[in-house]
């Protein structure tokens, strides 16, 4: 959000660069961000996404670490699902009940976690609010993603014809919108650095 100055007037102010977004009436989207911000967000996000999705050799330590993490994620989703499904079991990355799900890379919403965390951490403000916001955002996204896995389990069970649409099209956009709202809420609450305001 751009800071306001009551002393600025149309006639007296020096020339100022106006973003296309502002010209298009999209100031609430662009805030006080700049291309420097896009780079500060995009570069680490790209590196982390590549690190996560890299096709590591089977049985390499990184591949085993990722599998361990996905198994833990499956166990966590299984704990929640077992509140409603008594006979549900988790074996490795598989959630096995009346319907079965396998937790693989991207089922953990890691991509949106990376994008949102990098977007928050790149925002030009003090470190503490960024760390708090990033940690809170990750926790919230894990909760939302666990709900997503639970709904997909029941959808697979009771409405299998709509599973694909909800899995591939509806839930991803819901999670993305939640992430955007979280990000906009964060940038509206924090005070930007002086350098970013100028």
């Amino acid at each position: 959000m751009s800071p306001k100055s009551s002393s600025q007037t149309k006639a007296a102010s020096p020339a100022r660069e106006v973003t296309l977004g502002e010209r298009l009436g999209l100031s609430f989207v662009v805030g006080s961000a700049s291309w420097r911000y896009v780079l500060a967000f995009g570069a680490p996000a790209s590196v982390l996404l590549v690190a996560y999705y890299f096709p590591y050799a089977a049985n390499s330590s990184t591949a085993n670490l990722l599998i361990g993490y996905l198994r833990a994620y499956a166990r966590m989703a299984g704990v929640v699902l077992r509140l409603f499904e008594q006979n549900l079991a988790v074996r490795g990355q598989d959630i096995i009940g009346r319907y079965s799900l396998r937790i693989v890379r991207s089922c953990d919403a890691m991509d949106i976690n990376i994008l949102l965390t990098c977007a928050i951490m790149a925002w030009p403000c003090a470190l503490r609010p960024r760390l708090i916001a990033a940690a809170s955002a990750i926790v919230l996204l894990v909760v939302v993603n666990t709900i997503r896995i639970c709904t997909l389990y029941y959808l697979g069970l009771y409405a299998p014809s709509s599973f694909e649409f909800v899995h591939m099209e509806a839930w991803p956009i819901v999670i993305l919108v939640i992430a955007v709202v979280l990000f906009l809420t964060f940038i509206s609450k924090v005070r930007p650095h002086a350098a970013a305001r100028s």
Binding site: R16, T19, L20, R23, L24, W35, L115, P172, S188
Partner: protein, 197 residues
């Protein structure tokens, strides 16, 4: 966020949801019609590439436009030297249609005033997204070649990683959002600061 901004942002979000919901509806004839259009456009892009190689890549559009069609594009790969032919399916909805309509929904939901602005953002951005769609669509094909070792170890790994990273359901939506944001950020003009109060 200022009160006015919050209201505008919510209205924007609502309009975006309505447009995207409409675009994602399973409309009759849409699947085959879009797949045909995509196949024709992709063949146009592929023809100069085919001229340089002994491998000919060509999409085969559906024979008819049916009300309940398919989003699976069919890519025909032919080796001129051995005359061997292989076919690959490509989900055009995932790699081209969804990024395009997500961008369109964002652009249409934006409070654009003036026809030229609207044309610039809606048409210009859509053309950009069609290009991205082509790039997206080439990734699963190239990744298949990469996994088979046809691209060499380095480029093969790069393509497979890129494919895995950008072909996830969330990133397919995130790319048009980032393009839209980047377009909105683009600095275009020097003008005196407006009074802000």
């Amino acid at each position: 966020m200022q009160q006015l901004d919050r209201k505008r942002a919510l209205l924007f979000l609502l309009r975006f949801a309505l447009f995207l919901g409409a675009f994602l509806m399973p409309l009759p004839w849409l699947a085959d019609a879009y797949t045909s259009a995509f196949d024709v456009a992709a063949n146009g892009v592929l023809s100069p590439i085919n001229a340089l190689s002994h491998i000919e890549l060509q999409f085969e559009p559906p024979e008819s436009i049916d009300a309940k069609g398919s989003w699976q594009g069919q890519l025909r790969i032919r080796d001129d030297r051995t005359e061997e032919v292989a076919r690959m399916k490509l989900n055009v909805r995932t790699f081209s249609y969804r990024p395009l309509v997500t961008y369109l929904a964002l652009a249409l939901a934006a409070p654009l005033s003036g026809l030229s602005k609207a044309v610039k953002v809606v048409l210009g951005g859509s053309l950009l997204m069609i290009g991205f769609g082509m790039l997206f669509s080439s990734l699963p094909i190239l990744a298949r070649f990469g996994e088979a070792g046809a691209l060499g170890p380095g480029p093969g790994l790069a393509v497979v990683t890129l494919y895995k990273a950008v072909a996830t359901p969330v990133v397919v939506y995130a790319v048009p959002l980032i393009v839209f944001w980047a377009l909105a950020l683009a600095r275009r003009a020097q003008q005196p600061a407006m009074e802000e109060s």
